[in-house]
Symmetry: C2
Subunit: 727 residues, 2 copies
C-alpha cells in the first residue's frame, strides 16, 4: 500500500546550527558511573543500549573502566576528538568540566546537573558563569537541570538521557520544559507506538531554547510534527516568528502550555487589563502563530497520533463507520461537540454500501453495519466512504463481537483504505477506534503498522480530527497585511510627551481624545465646561440631546456613582443635571470637572482596548460593551501588531457578533470601521509603546457610516515602556 | 491500616425483587454450544471460568454433553429446579424456549438473542409477544439483545455474559444500554483495577430497566457506586425518583448520557422552546436528581476510581504534594479549571514540612518537595497535609527520579495516609498520580491495594475530586419544599377551556394575561384598543409613558417589524405611534390589533418560560432577557415540578446573576419575587399540563417591591396534553 505519511514540501537539508548537538560523531559522559541507580550509570547505559553510532567515552576521576569501556579521568585525556559532552558531575564540578570541554574543542554540551538558577541564591551566580563560559567558547548547550536529549536518526542513534524508556524512531519531535514530565512523555509515546525523531528536555534554557528548536525542526527532514510542553516562552516575538514560519510551511506544532490559571494576578486598573486574564496572552500568542493548543498532555498525544500519520483533511465533514450503535452515537456526539460536521453521503455511496450490508444496517452517516459486519463489509464500506467526495475524513469504529476476528477486520480496513484512496480518497485522514476483545492488541498493532492511528474511545479520535481541521483552516488562511494608515504621528508624540513632562500617568480626557483623533480614531464630540451656560452653548452647537459627565482623578466607573446624566434635551434639563451632580456626586467632596458630550442614539456598545503584559508586550482587546462584557466575558485578544486579517477575525470571533452584523433584520453596524479602528490602535501602540493601557469604553458602533465613535477613552502611559525581555 | 472504603448508612438487606436475576442457585444456558467462536460457547465458558456457585445446565437440541457437562435437549428435561435461564438460541426459537422456561418454573431470564424491537418489522411483533409471555408467567427478564449480566458476590459468582474479560469483584455497579460498549467497559474496569459488584447489559429493556436497577442497587449492600451508560431514560419521573433516593442516601450515581447532540431538532415556536436544546432536558434531569454526568466513558471511570475508594470530601480545598514542578503546575491548572480551590496551608503545616525538606523545596501549596524527596519525606508531608484542617483533599504526585525507589514511596504514602487520618484527616480523599519509571507498575499496584486510586496525569485526579466536591454539595443541599400558593384554579380552568373550546392553540394576549393573574403572576397593565382616543384614556388612567404594540396571528418578534412603539409621553405621541404602525407594519396587509401598555422604566429584562419535551414533560426556563439571551445562552432549565430550593438555585445559576443582585452598587432587583413566579409557573403547569409552551418575555425584574411584572406573555395549549410515556 502507498505510504500514509504526511509529507509537506521538502525542507532544505543545509546543516542546522543545532546539528552539533543532535548529530555528534563521538560522545563523552562526564561523571559516568558504575553505581546502580545513579544518573551517570543510567545515562551511559542508554547511550550504549540505543546503539550510538560512534565512540562513547566515560569520564570519571576514580574509575579506569565502566561497562568494560576504558574510562578517562578528564575529557582532556581522551585521545580522539569529542563532539558532544554530557555532564552528570556534581554541581560544583560543572564549571571546571565545561572549561576542560572548551579546551578539548568539544562542540556541544548537555548539562544534566541541577542546582543552578532554579534553586536561586548561589545557583544564580553559577548559572551566569556557566552561560558566560559557554558563550565565550562558542559551544552550544542544552540544560542545565535537564534529563537529556534523543535523536533516533538511524545514522546517529543518540539517547543521551537517563530516561527508563528507550524511544521508538518516528517523525515527531518533542521539547519539554519540565524534565520530570520527560520521563512520562517518553513512556507514553512508546506505549502508544508514537515514534520520535528528536526529544529534548530543555532544563533552564540557558543557551538552547524552545525557539532555537523550532528553527531547527523547521528544517529537519525527519521531523514532521512538533510537540511542546511549555511553562514559559522566552522571547515571545521570536517564538511567534519561528512558530508561524514552521506552521505556515505545513508542519503542525502542538503545545501544552502549563501555568494557565496560576495565582499571581496582574494589577490592572483598566477594563481591558482586568479582562486580559493570565492566560489570554499565551492563548493569543499560540493562536496567532498557528500552534494547536492541547489542554492536557494526554490530548497532545492523541492529536499527535493523527498528525504523525495522516494527511491534513480538506474540510470538516466526517464519516463514521461502525458495527455498533452506542459507539456510533458517542462518535457523533463528539463530532458535533468539537465543531465538526457529520458528512452527508451521496446516494451512490449509500447504494454501494447497501449492496453488501443486511437490510437492518443503516447506510446514513453514522453508518451502522450492525454486529454481523465482517471483514469484507468493512473493506467495502471503508472504500465507499473514502471515495465519497462529500467526505473529508473517516472514523472507523470496531467493537469486536465474538464471531468476528478483529485481525481480519484490521487487514480489511487497511485494504479498504488503499482502494478508497485510489478512488479519490487521497488526502483524507482515517482514524480508528478498536473497542476490541480477543486479538484486540494484535488488530491494533496491525492497524498502527499500516499507518492508521487507533483510539480506545471515539471521542479522542474526534478531538484529533478537530485539531486537524483547525490546522487546515490555518494553512488556508490569507496572511493579511498591515495596511498603510493616515496618522499624525507628530501630534500624538506632542500629546504624549506633554503628559510625560507633567509626570501624568493617565492622560486627561482632552488629551486622550486628541491622541485618538491624531490616529484617525473617531471620538464623539465633547467639551470640558464650567457652567450650565457653557454646556448649553455646546449643545446648541452640536445638537441635543447631550450627556453631562464628571471627571475626577482615578474615577473609573462614573455611572456607578451618579456621575453621568444622560438624555438632556433642553437648557433646563442641562441645569437640572448640574444640580443633580452637585447634590449627588458633588457631596463626595472630591474635586471634579464637568464634561458635556453629544449623546449617541442607536448602535451597539463595544469595547476596544489595550493591555500590556510584562512578558508578551501589548494585547489588543475587542468585545461587546456594557455590563455584559464583564459577566459574559465575550472578548477576544490579539498580541500586537495585527494585520487586517486579524482585525477581520477579531470582530467576527465574539459570540455577540450577530448583534453587530444585524440580528433579526436590524441594520448591521459599520463593521469595517471597527476593523479600521483596531488596526489604528495597533499602529498607535507600535509607534508609542509607552502606552501601557487604554480603554475605548464604550465605543458606539453605529449602522450609519461616519457616526460610530468612542464615547469615553482612557489612556495610561507607563513611566518606562513595557516590552518583552531581550533574550 | 483502617479501611479506606466509603461506607454510607447501612441499607436494608431485605430481599430485592431482582435477586431472582442476580442470585440464582442454578443456571441453564439454552443454546449452549461447543462451537468455537460462538456466543453459546463463550457464555457457558464464562459461567464455568468465573466459578458459579451452583449447577450449570447446558441446553442444546443436538448435543449430549458440552465441556464434559451433561447436556439436555430442553430446559424441561433438567431433573432439578432452574432459577435463571440464559437464552442464546436463534431469534425464532426464543418464544418456545421462554414458554418452556415458564412451564419449568424458571424465575428469571437473560435473553442475549437479538433481532427484536431494534430491527423493526417482524421484530416488533415478536418483542411484544415476548413481553406478554414474560409478564404473564411472572418471570423477570434482562434483554433481549444484550450481552448478559454479572454478579461478583463470592456467594454467587455469576458471569452470565459473553464478554472476553472476567470482572474483578468490587463495590461498583454498572448498567450499560449499549451492549457493544459492555465489552469495553468490562475490559477497561479490569485494566484500571476497578472492581464491580454487578454488571448489566440492558439491551431492549423490555422488562428490567435502568430504573429497576437503581431501585435494586439502592438496597444492595455490596454496591457503593452506580455507573450508567444511557441512551434514553424510559420513564423520566421514575428515574428521577429512584436516582434522587439513592443519591440523597449518599450512594453516588455517575452517568454518561449519549445522544447529546444528535440531529432531530425539536420543532419550537417559542423562545423557551428554541433555547431548550436537545440536551437541556437530559442535563436538567440528571442534575436535579444528583447524578454526576461525565462527558466520556473515560471520565466516568476516572471519577469512579475515586468514588469507589475514597470518602466524599467536606469541601473543595485541595492540597497538592509533588516532587516535580511541572506536574505541580499541571495539577494546579486543573484544580482551578474544575472550580476547586488551592488550599491555604497553616503555618504549622508548612513548618512541619520544612523541618524534613531541603531549603530549595516549596512548602506553599502546591508543595514541591523537589526531586530529592524520598520515602520518609513523602510520609511526613502526606501526614502533615492530611492533618491540616484547611485541607479537604490531597493529590500526591510522584515522578520517579532514578535514585528513588517508587515502591518505597508508595508504601510511605500509605503510611502517611494512616498517620494523617489519625490526626484529623478522616474523611479526606487522597488521590495519587504516579508518573513513574522503573517499578512504576509495582508502586501503582501497591497504592491501589492500599485503597488509593492512581492516575497517569494530574488532570484526571482533579476532575474526579471536582465530581466528589459536587456530590458533597448535593448531599448537603437542603431538600426544599413546594410551598402553598394562593392561586385561582377555577379561573384558570375557565380561561383554558374557553380557548380550547374555540379551537385556539395560542391564547390571545388578554387570555394569557388573565391566566397569569389567576396564578398570582404579575403582568404590566395593558388593554386592547381600537383608536388613539382609547389608548389615551388608558394612559390617563395608568399614567404615561405608554407603549403601543400590534398583535397579529403568529407574530413572534413584534419589534423586528416595527410593531412596537415605545416611550409615548402624551396624546400627540400616541397618535403619532398609531400613524407609524399604520404606515409601517400596517403596510404588510396582515390583520392586526393594537394593545396599549404602561411602559416600565428601569429594572432588568429576564425571560421565564415553559417548553415541553415528548419524553421528559415540561421544562421551566429562566435567563437574562433581551437579545443577549439567544447569543450568550445564559439560561438554566429545570424539569417540573420544582421546589423553592430549585427556584433559588435557578435564579443564582445564570452567569448574569450579578446584574440582578446589584452590580457596582446598583440596587438589587426583587429576586424573591422572581423565585415566587418560577414556583407559580411550576404549579400552573402541574395543574394544567395541557399548557405546552409559554414565554414571559420580557419579564421586567425591578428593584422596587410590587413593580416587577411580565411585559409580554405567550401561551400555547396543546391539543392533547404532552407527558412522559407510561412505562
Amino acid at each position: 500500500m502507498p505510504p500514509l505519511r504526511y509529507l509537506p514540501a521538502p525542507m532544505s537539508d543545509a546543516l542546522s546550527p543545532l546539528d552539533v548537538v543532535f548529530r555528534p560523531t563521538s560522545v563523552a559522559v562526564i561523571g559516568a558511573s558504575r553505581d546502580r541507580g545513579s544518573i551517570g550509570r543510567e545515562l551511559l547505559q542508554n547511550l550504549l543500549a540505543f546503539d550510538f553510532q560512534g565512540p562513547v567515552y566515560p569520564i570519571n576521576r576514580n574509575a579506569s573502566s565502566i561497562h568494560g569501556i576504558r574510562c578517562h579521568r578528564s575529557v582532556l585525556d581522551v585521545p580522539d576528538p569529542v563532539d558532544l559532552a554530557v555532564l552528570v558531575v556534581p554541581r560544583d564540578a560543572v564549571l571546571e568540566a565545561v572549561g576542560e570541554c572548551a579546551r578539548k574543542g568539544v562542540k556541544a554540551l548537555v548539562v544534566i546537573t541541577a542546582g543552578f538558577k532554579e534553586v536561586g541564591g548561589e545557583g544564580l551566580a553559577l548559572e551566569a558563569e556557566l552561560a558566560r563560559l559557554v558563550r565565550e567558547s562558542g559551544m552550544r548547550m542544552v540544560g542545565p537541570n535537564c534529563m537529556g536529549i534523543v535523536n533516533t536518526d538511524p545514522e546517529v542513534r543518540l539517547d543521551a538521557s537517563f530516561a527508563a524508556t528507550l524511544p521508538l524512531p518516528g517523525n515527531v519531535a518533542f521539547a519539554s520544559q519540565s524534565g520530570a514530565l520527560g520521563e512520562a512523555i517518553l513512556a507514553t509515546a512508546r506505549q502508544l507506538g508514537l515514534g520520535l525523531s528528536q526529544f529534548v528536555s530543555l532544563g533552564n534554557k540557558t543557551d538552547i531554547s524552545g525557539n532555537d528548536l523550532l528553527e531547527h525542526w523547521a528544517e529537519d527532514p525527519r521531523t514532521q510534527v512538533v510537540l511542546l510542553y511549555l511553562e514559559s516562552f522566552g522571547n515571545p516575538r521570536n517564538f511567534a516568528r519561528n512558530a508561524r514560519r514552521i506552521t505556515r510551511a505545513g508542519k503542525p506544532v502542538l503545545a501544552v502550555k502549563a501555568g494557565r490559571t496560576g495565582p499571581g494576578a496582574r494589577a490592572a486598573s483598566s477594563h481591558t487589563g482586568s479582562l486580559a486574564g493570565l492566560d489570554a496572552a499565551a492563548s493569543s500568542l499560540l493562536g496567532q502563530c498557528g500552534v494547536i493548543r492541547a489542554d492536557k498532555v494526554e490530548e497532545l498525544f492523541s492529536m499527535a497520533m493523527a498528525f504523525a500519520t495522516q494527511p491534513i483533511p480538506r474540510g470538516s465533514r466526517i464519516a463514521i463507520l461502525t458495527n455498533a450503535g452506542g459507539p456510533g452515537i458517542m462518535a457523533t456526539d463528539a463530532l458535533v461537540t468539537y465543531g465538526l460536521d457529520v458528512a452527508e453521503l451521496l446516494p451512490a455511496t449509500r447504494e454501494a454500501m447497501a449492496a453488501v450490508l443486511p437490510p437492518e444496517a443503516s447506510t446514513a452517516n453514522p453508518v451502522d453495519m450492525i454486529a454481523s459486519a465482517d471483514a469484507p463489509k468493512y473493506r467495502a464500506c471503508t472504500e465507499a466512504l473514502l471515495a465519497d467526495p462529500g467526505v473529508d475524513a473517516l472514523i472507523v469504529v470496531f467493537v469486536s463481537p465474538v464471531v468476528i476476528d478483529s485481525r481480519t477486520v484490521a487487514a480489511a480496513v487497511l485494504d479498504g483504505v488503499v482502494a478508497g484512496r485510489a478512488r479519490g480518497g487521497e488526502g483524507k485522514p482515517i482514524l480508528s477506534c478498536f473497542m476490541g476483545r480477543a486479538h484486540g492488541a494484535e488488530a491494533e498493532q496491525r492497524l498502527r503498522e499500516g499507518g492508521i492511528p487507533v483510539y480506545a474511545f471515539p471521542e479522542a479520535a474526534a478531538q484529533a480530527l478537530a485539531a486537524m481541521a483547525r490546522f487546515r483552516r490555518w494553512i488556508d488562511r490569507p496572511e493579511g497585511v498591515a495596511p498603510e494608515l493616515d496618522v499624525d504621528r507628530e501630534a500624538a508624540a506632542r500629546i504624549l510627551s506633554g503628559a510625560a513632562g507633567g509626570g501624568q500617568e493617565w492622560l486627561d480626557s482632552g488629551e486622550a481624545q486628541a491622541l485618538l483623533e491624531a490616529y484617525g480614531i473617531p471620538v464623539v464630540p465633547s467639551r470640558l465646561v464650567s457652567s450650565p451656560e457653557e454646556a448649553v452653548a455646546f449643545a446648541e452647537e452640536h445638537g441635543y440631546p447631550v450627556v453631562l459627565k464628571v471627571e475626577a482623578e482615578g474615577l473609573l466607573h462614573k455611572s456607578d456613582v451618579g456621575g453621568v446624566q444622560v438624555d438632556l434635551r433642553n437648557p433646563r434639563e442641562i441645569k437640572g443635571a448640574f444640580w443633580d451632580i452637585a447634590h449627588g456626586f458633588g457631596a463626595r467632596g472630591v474635586p471634579y470637572r464637568h464634561r458635556v458630550q453629544r449623546m449617541v442614539r442607536g448602535g451597539r456598545e463595544v469595547i476596544m482596548g489595550i493591555a500590556s503584559d510584562p512578558t508578551f508586550g501589548h494585547l489588543l482587546a475587542f468585545g461587546l460593551g456594557g455590563v455584559y462584557v464583564e459577566l459574559m466575558k465575550d472578548v477576544v485578544f490579539r498580541l500586537l501588531p495585527i494585520t487586517d486579517q486579524d482585525a477581520r477575525e477579531m470582530v467576527r470571533e465574539i459570540r455577540g457578533f450577530p448583534l453587530l452584523s444585524g440580528l433579526r433584520g436590524e441594520p448591521p453596524v459599520d463593521v469595517s470601521l471597527l476593523e479600521d479602528v483596531l488596526l489604528r490602535l495597533s499602529r498607535l501602540v507600535e509607534d508609542f509603546p509607552q502606552i501601557a493601557e487604554m480603554d475605548l469604553n464604550p465605543f458606539m458602533a453605529h449602522p450609519e457610516a461616519g457616526v460610530s465613535a468612542a464615547v469615553d477613552a482612557r489612556v495610561r502611559v507607563a513611566p518606562a515602556p513595557p516590552g518583552p525581555p531581550a533574550t
